[in-house]
Amino acid sequence: MRIAIDTGGTFTDCIFVRDGRLEILKLPSARQDPARPVAQALETILGPSRERAGVELTCGTTVGTNALLERRGGRIALVTTAGFEDVIEIGRQDRPRLYDFFVTRPEPLVPRDRRFGLRERVDAAGRSLEAPSEEELDRVTGELERAAPEAVALCLLFSFANPTHERALARRLRARGMRVSVSHEVLAEFREYERTATVLANAYLTPAVSGYLEAVERSAGRGRGTRVGVMQSNGGIASARAAAEEPVRTVLSGPAGGALGARGAASLAGYDRIISFDMGGTSTDVSLIEGELRTTTESHVAGLPVAVPMLEIHTVGAGGGSIARFDDAGAMRVGPESAGADPGPVCYGRGEQPTVTDAHLVLGRLGAQGLLGGKFPLDEARARRCFERARGPLRSVEAFAAGILAVADTTMEKAIRVISVERGYDPRDYTLVAFGGAGGLHACQLADALGIPRVLIPKFPGALSALGILAADVVKDFSRTLRIEAPCAESSGAALRGPLACAFAAIEARGWREMKSEGIAPKRVRIERLLDLRYLGQGYELTISARGDFLSRFHQTHEQRYGYSDRSWRVELVNVRSRFIGQTARLPLRSRREIPRDAARVAMGRRKAIFPGAGSLRPADTTFYDRARLLPGHRLKAPAIVLEYSATTAIPPGWQGRVDRYENLVLEPARR
């Protein structure tokens, strides 16, 4: 049986295939022991069988992210080239905030007294200038043994160009039974601070993540055909064993599942260019996807760089729990402070500060019976009293609520701009896929602001990450820094074929080994070859498919992103990347015929609600729907609110909706 489980902050969502149908199960998360709800879910789904077999379990996990955020990783040690032990503390020598005399920065994951220097040196061309002597290797090994860390990170200068020194020390340490993360294995790319930080995070997460995965593997059982996989930040699955070795690849596990789920739902509906928009309680994740998932190697997690490939997901601190206030000079602020789940928004009964969720309630947009199908009542009178006190110079409670939403929307609009306009993509060419509890409440407003022509609310907006995980392929990324000059446009193919073939052959040998150990048959493996290119002398690369005339494509892409290009300038080939994709079986998502018909007949009723986008605070007669009763072909007229178990969608005036054959809700501006 195929099961996907996504552990979130509040809920652990499970989605699984039984008798050819998708089913959903939601359990409360357990922050202290995230593996426990997983075991409970398996009990519920599979029964208490001791001899489970054929369980294909894939998990999205926040164990890695939380260990970094809360600094609850392992006790680790670091070995660097002698003289560079402090690189991890100096970082890039900049401060995170410019105008703050009291600025602080995250402490390194390893303190000074557990950082050790090895006398050795490799130069920029990969030549060994000084090999580490036997005595030197012994000395460092001895120091490490005395420090007795749970895991060791190893990062020597230029090891991506020549890994022999790292290998020599790693071999020795592993022979002594130490758990070692080695930089050229985890990330064979240049920039020593980012590489060190990444390998260090890997070592730091090893104890927590491998402990969690062992517990999950235990509950899945050791039956025949049972496999446990983990969602990685790059949007692909890795086996639990591989993930335990390289846990740094899982730090964006959950959000990656969301982006995948959004892509899956949109692609079935016929849309390949999407902006996924996942709005939760404290934060919002956005990502731009164009058919293929795009990854970046410039992510930061908990203020620390993590340079392994991750889906390009941008997170901002605005969600349903974001708190509104006025500042000294009278401007309204919303977030990043959040009421979270505890105390939560005012209408939950304990919060004291106005939040985005309260604003929706005050404007009549959350339905009368509360959240989670009535299991979670909301106290509107309490929210109104609070808004009356807090509304400052604004003329009414409603104006204050509308303002909160408008300000929250600008934060989210800015987030979408960062991933689209700032990178040369026009949002008008995309479909906004909104999910998470509050995504559907803000989607149309945002689409209006950015000129996005269409909003799609997928079928399971509250469990979309789990769905994405269930449908994910096995994906493994391999890379190596090359830094050679591409001769010139005309002869590119011929002159580079030799070195490129060599580099790809080297990293792909490892790729095939790992796919084999993941149990993927060679015929199900697809390889994407990518090149990081830049004009000779630039500092940032563009990642371009290695197929065909990649130089032309590089010039074009540069023009698109930065507004200029010059074919007479020389181009440098910085990194080669191979992405191995092992396809898993498709999901049994059924489509039904769309029978165009008015949804009004299945409406729950009508109530007054306010849609401030158009500038008016007049309550409008609004139709409320229960999503469970909407069928393919149903047409929805604005203004309308669609309620479902764990999400709410608003269709403001000027928009219209329909249910497509996969039961997605598709919203578009009404024809004028």
Binding site: G83, F84, E85, D86, V87, E89, I90, R92, Q93, D94, R95, R97, L98, Y99, D100, F101, F102, V103, T104, R105, D123, A124, L157, F158, F190, R191, E192, Y193, D327, D328, A329, G330, A331, M332, R333, G392, P393, L394, A402, G403, A406, V407, T410, T411, R417, V421, E422, R483, Y535, G537, Q538, G539, Y540, H558, R561, Y562, G563, Y564, D566, W569
Partner: protein, 524 residues
């Protein structure tokens, strides 16, 4: 009319995101390590009157001086749609020669521009007597090519003659060409975004909120000034020397706070000097803006409104308001830091709990160049600044190995530097124990050792080599910086400011100052 608090927040975000977007384009498409790796650049948006509406979170030292670039470009040129002005003359809208600033008008289909956008980047070489153009000089003509406001871009096209004239006066023309292209791309991005914003909200509405935004910043500053007790607060500190044996060079300030206004007067500061640490007025102004900006909450929009309640007086012909032909390369990297130190020392008398002890007070500018044997003897030029200790804060230690105050440029990774420039970095670590003792300790400086693999011309502009960054409230001073040259077994001490030829195998060792301590040790 009173502004709508919601629209106000929306426009604040809009203008700021334009500046940030410009910065992203510049950084990602630039060629020199100084821009792409070290991020030594700034982008900003101005209204039709040349008042700043938003600055990206880039380099503080550029903040107050960018508006002067816009003013100079507008005064000297008739900027038409599709034109971009370029300038670097410190005495006409610039700061020091390596900072090339571009100003582009945004006409919105009218005769007079409705906005200006500007991008400034520190170029690693602009000619002059030393590679890197940041060395010790006696006048500005030795420091490189001096560009008054000229049009580098006319009617949407580059002006080939201007570009060629610049490229023929610098050591690394290809890199300059790439960096200039990136700056143009940044300006055009900003202009396009402003067009979109006006198309969406309408000229009238945008104009109203420009004004509201400026008033908003002004109100923020006034309310901060109100919280400082009225009075006159004085501070004094000094630059070690001018590089030609003259020093110390005192900088003095009196800050007069009265109600919601402040007047900052540098009367009594040393006359401009023979070396290259002279600062033009724009720098003194930027430093003042920076210090008072730090008294406000982090998210205040960086607009011209902030300085409306503040006056900065700097006597002509002094270290903080130099006249031509003074050499000025070190003015906005070294003197700027000392101006901040002096202002903070004065402010500490007014609001002691809100002011840190002195940070390293220098940027340790190191420039070098020569011929690269790995690239058929092609010329190379490189510039970097080295971080140091941050001054201790009341109740909080200073951070170690970090850039403070007027700069926030990144380091160049060793794995990039050695690939591009014929050097080997031998050590890059914290200088333990260099922070001043105190109830809270100052941050530690850095030890950096660079070996030159080929005969190289080296230039250093640094300070705080004679007296360390001051402690406050009984805290001790941070350690002074040290510059040394190692050739064979010989260790030679180098002055704070110097230019010299280093043989292949020579090693430069720089120990950067630690931050001052805060409060007496042992007290709690």
């Amino acid at each position: 009319m009173k502004p709508d608090p919601i629209r106000l927040e929306i426009f604040k975000n809009l203008f700021h995101s334009v500046a940030e977007e410009m910065g992203a384009v510049l950084r990602r498409s630039a060629f020199s390590p100084n821009i792409k790796e070290r991020r030594d650049y700034s982008c900003a948006v101005f209204n039709g009157a040349g008042e700043a509406l938003a600055m990206g979170d880039h380099m503080p030292v550029h903040l107050g001086s960018m508006p002067m670039s816009v003013a100079a470009a507008v005064a000297e040129l008739d900027l038409l749609p599709g034109d971009i002005a370029l300038l670097n003359d410190p005495f006409c809208g610039g700061t020091h020669l390596p900072d090339l600033t571009m100003v582009m008008p945004v006409h919105l289909g009218r005769c007079a521009p409705g906005f200006y956008v500007a991008s400034r980047a520190h170029h690693a070489d602009v000619g002059g007597s030393q590679p890197g153009s940041m060395g010790l000089s006696r006048d500005i003509c030795q420091e490189g090519i001096r560009i008054p406001p000229v049009k580098i871009f006319m009617n949407g096209r580059i002006v080939p003659g201007i570009l060629a004239m610049i490229l023929r006066n610098v050591r690394t023309p290809r890199e300059r060409e790439g960096d200039l292209a990136a700056q143009i791309a940044a300006c055009r991005t900003g202009a396009r975004r402003l067009d979109e914003i006006v198309a969406k909200y309408g000229r009238g509405e945008v104009g109203r909120y420009e004004a509201h935004l400026l008033e908003y910043s002004e109100r923020m500053m006034r309310s901060a000034l109100r919280r400082i007790p009225s009075g006159v607060y004085r501070g004094e500190d000094a630059m070690d020397d001018d590089g030609w044996g003259n020093g110390p060079l005192p900088i003095r300030v009196a800050i007069r706070i009265g109600g919601e206004r402040a007047e900052i007067d540098f009367e009594g500061t040393a006359p401009q000097c023979a070396g290259s640490v002279n600062a033009v007025y724009a720098i003194a102004y930027s430093a003042a803006l920076y210090v008072f900006r730090c008294l406000l909450p982090e998210e205040v929009p960086m607009t011209a409104g902030l300085m409306r309640p503040i006056r900065v007086l700097a006597p002509l012909g002094t270290l903080v308001n130099a006249l031509p032909p003074a050499a000025v390369a070190g003015g906005n990297v070294e003197t700027a830091q000392r101006i901040v130190d002096v202002l903070l020392k004065a402010l500490a008398r007014a609001v002691p709990q809100r002011v840190p002890a002195a940070s390293q007070g220098t940027m340790n500018n190191v420039t070098f160049g020569g011929r690269d044997p790995r690239r058929a003897g092609a010329l190379f030029a490189y510039y970097e600044t080295i971080a140091g200790g941050m001054g201790a804060r009341p109740g909080l230690e200073g951070l170690s190995g970090i850039h403070t105050h007027m700069t926030n440029s990144l380091n160049t990774p060793v794995e990039v530097l050695e690939h591009e420039i014929p050097v080997r970095v031998r050590r890059y670590s914290l200088r333990r124990g260099s922070g001043g003792a105190g109830r809270s300790r100052g941050g530690d400086g850095i030890v950096r050792e660079i070996e030159f693999l080929t005969p190289t011309q080296l230039g250093i502009l640094s300070d705080r080599r004679k007296r360390g960054p001051y402690g406050l409230a009984g805290g001790e001073d941070g350690a002074v910086g040290v510059n040394e040259l190692l050739v064979g077994d010989e260790v030679r001490s180098l002055p704070s400011k110097c230019a010299l030829d280093v043989p292949a195998g020579g090693v430069l060792r720089v120990l950067t100052p630690g931050g001052g301590g805060w409060g007496k040790s042992g007290e709690t």
